[in-house]
């Protein structure tokens, strides 16, 4: 049996390792197009901040890790999938046969279609190549505009502040982190950033960029202009699916996969950021584009590729983020459900916030700011769908009892 995995991010690497555990004899080949050892995109901010060297972003520390496991990594690009012949067409060299194929190609950063965004003074922050260019071209005290204050934008923001830049953030939505935080929490984060000396402009967008005498004139929709040395663009991504053209593999926002992470074409699976797979909260198919889902997908896909039909209830959408020292997290259906109940405690002065969302007596979603201890129980409670019983009423009155509710209901350590 020959397994071919496209992509050496967390989804592809964990799939390969799991396949090897399941089978000693199968041949496992990872095809990856970036000229680096397998690395984690999410470690890039720590490289920019100078917290780690480049090898600190590698997924596996031992340089011989993959050799020892007899996992072959080939530096190449997959350009086409020939489902009838069961081969992939590579940029260099002959077609490669697969018995089972895993697409773990992730996504790529996009630039919004604004004139001037093709200037060399505009950077993405998505790959190690991007990080190298940022580190060599952006100097301390440069004026930098960060485009986008979503999840990735806010992570990058932290790194840019560590680089000691004169930073302005521009975000189209009316608050920061629009997809992982409500209005209340978004306001708190914005205030926090401003207190730390970062200018944040929400509810406006860049409409044109012009390069003049080695600087950028950035026009905003509200009529104002910002002069800056660089733009860092964190304004969205798109899945890497161009190699599917002409293949009959179903695609929506990502590659559509069922609860075995199989596509509609036999023997072809997808995992990680490129996959639109089952969401545990809704049962719908969603692109999560987060590390925990990528690693979970990698394992689950490998189980099914090796013929092990262990059930998979979908991944839980969740995020954790450090914005200049303010720690935020979100879980599941944090914006609530129809007919559900909600409770929140907000301590604006203390920069703490906790919001819980219930359906009947189940916790279905949560938001937290300033919570760093035992935060994982929010996942535990949502994922195990444990009935809260009397605790629901207690939590509606005082959400901070969450850990007690958890211990009593999930651990069954009845006090």
């Amino acid at each position: 049996m020959q397994h071919v995995i496209v992509g050496a991010g967390p989804a592809g690497v964990i799939a390969a390792e799991t396949l090897r555990k399941k089978s000693r004899n199968d041949s496992i080949i990872i095809v990856a197009k970036e000229p680096y050892p397998a690395y984690s995109r999410m470690a890039i901010p720590y490289l920019l901040a100078g917290d780690v060297e480049e090898n600190g972003t590698y997924l596996r520390i031992d340089a011989n890790h993959f050799d020892k496991l007899e996992i072959e990594i080939r530096l190449n690009t997959v350009n086409r999938i020939n489902t009838r012949e069961k081969t992939v067409t590579l940029e260099k060299g002959p077609d490669l046969h697969y018995d089972r194929l895993l697409l773990a190609t992730g996504s790529s950063a996009i630039r919004p279609p604004i004139s001037g965004m093709d200037s060399p003074r505009v950077h993405n922050c998505w790959t190690l190549d991007d990080a190298h260019r940022m580190l060599s071209e952006i100097r301390a005290r440069d004026r930098v505009v960060l485009l986008g204050a979503g999840f990735i934008g806010c992570i990058v923001l932290q790194a840019l502040v560590s680089m000691k830049l004169d930073l302005t953030v521009v975000e189209l939505a009316d608050h920061m982190l629009a997809r992982m935080m409500d209005h209340e929490g978004g306001k708190m984060i914005k205030q926090w950033c401003e207190n730390k000396g970062v200018t944040v402009r929400t509810g406006t967008e860049v409409i044109a960029v012009t390069e003049k005498s080695n600087q950028l004139e950035i026009e905003l929709a509200d009529g104002s202009t910002i002069t800056a040395d660089h733009i860092v663009c964190a304004a969205g991504v798109r899945p890497n699916i161009h190699m599917l053209e002409g293949s009959a593999i179903d695609v929506d926002a990502g590659i559509l996969v069922n609860n075995q992470l199989q596509t509609n074409v036999p023997d072809i699976f997808a995992a990680g950021d490129v996959a639109q797979g089952p969401d545990r909260s809704t049962g719908d198919q969603q692109v999560h584009a987060i590390q925990p889902t990528a690693s979970e997908h990698g394992r689950v896909a490998a189980f099914h590729m090796s013929g092990d039909a262990s059930p998979y209830g979908g991944s839980l959408s969740m995020n954790v983020l450090n914005t200049l020292g303010l720690i935020t997290s979100s879980f599941g259906l944090w914006d609530g459900v129809d007919g559900g109940d909600r409770t929140a405690v907000c301590d604006t002065a203390g920069n703490r916030y906790l919001r819980l969302e219930f359906q009947d007596d189940l916790l279905v979603g949560a938001l937290a700011i300033g919570l760093t201890q035992h935060v994982g129980v929010l996942r535990g409670l949502i994922q195990t769908k444990v009935r809260l019983g009397n605790w629901k009423k207690l939590l509606l009155d005082d959400p901070s009892l969450i850990m007690n509710a958890y211990l009593d209901r999930v651990q069954g350590t009845r006090a």
Partner: protein, 153 residues
């Protein structure tokens, strides 16, 4: 055979010796806020539960880590955080559904129970036997017995 921490809440008097011993062993200070084991009180302190990582089989924290900072100590079975590799991204703190990996804002890294390399100080410090370090099949046996008792009572 690995050993595990066996916790019997009925014996816990909430004296905090475990938290003090843990924080001293791992952080060099007697400060319950830095402990990896935590006592939760119920009914206004009438009942208490010491709570820490069970070194679970699934190892959610380990699989979610983007930089291989969490590894298994083959001798003890503990999932250990290597501080020099941890970048402080906190993904493990949300991935662990038991909530037993915590972020330490002083170090900018995460911390969790590592069984003190095989000599867990919480168990040594516990004066009532609420926390003991025993062969893993024992904890399984007692858990089974307890749940059987619960179901039949």
């Amino acid at each position: 055979m690995h050993k595990s921490l066996l916790i019997d809440p009925a014996k816990c008097t909430s004296c905090l010796q475990c938290e003090l011993a843990c924080s001293f062993e791992n952080e060099g200070v007697f400060n319950p806020a830095k402990s990896r084991i935590k006592i939760f009180e119920f009914e206004h302190g009438r009942k208490a539960i010491p709570y820490t990582c069970t070194q679970c089989e699934e190892a959610w924290c380990l699989h979610a880590c983007p930089v291989e900072a969490i590894t298994i100590n083959e001798e003890t079975g503990a999932k250990e955080v290597n501080e020099s590799i941890c970048v402080g991204c906190k993904v493990c703190t949300i991935a662990c559904p038991f909530g037993t990996v915590n972020y330490n804002s002083d170090s900018g890294k995460v911390i969790k129970c590592d069984l003190c390399g095989g000599e867990p100080q919480c168990a040594e410090a516990c004066p009532t036997g609420a926390i003991v370090y025993v062969d893993s099949d024992w904890t399984g046996y007692l858990r089974m017995r307890d749940s059987a008792v619960e179901q039949h009572s």
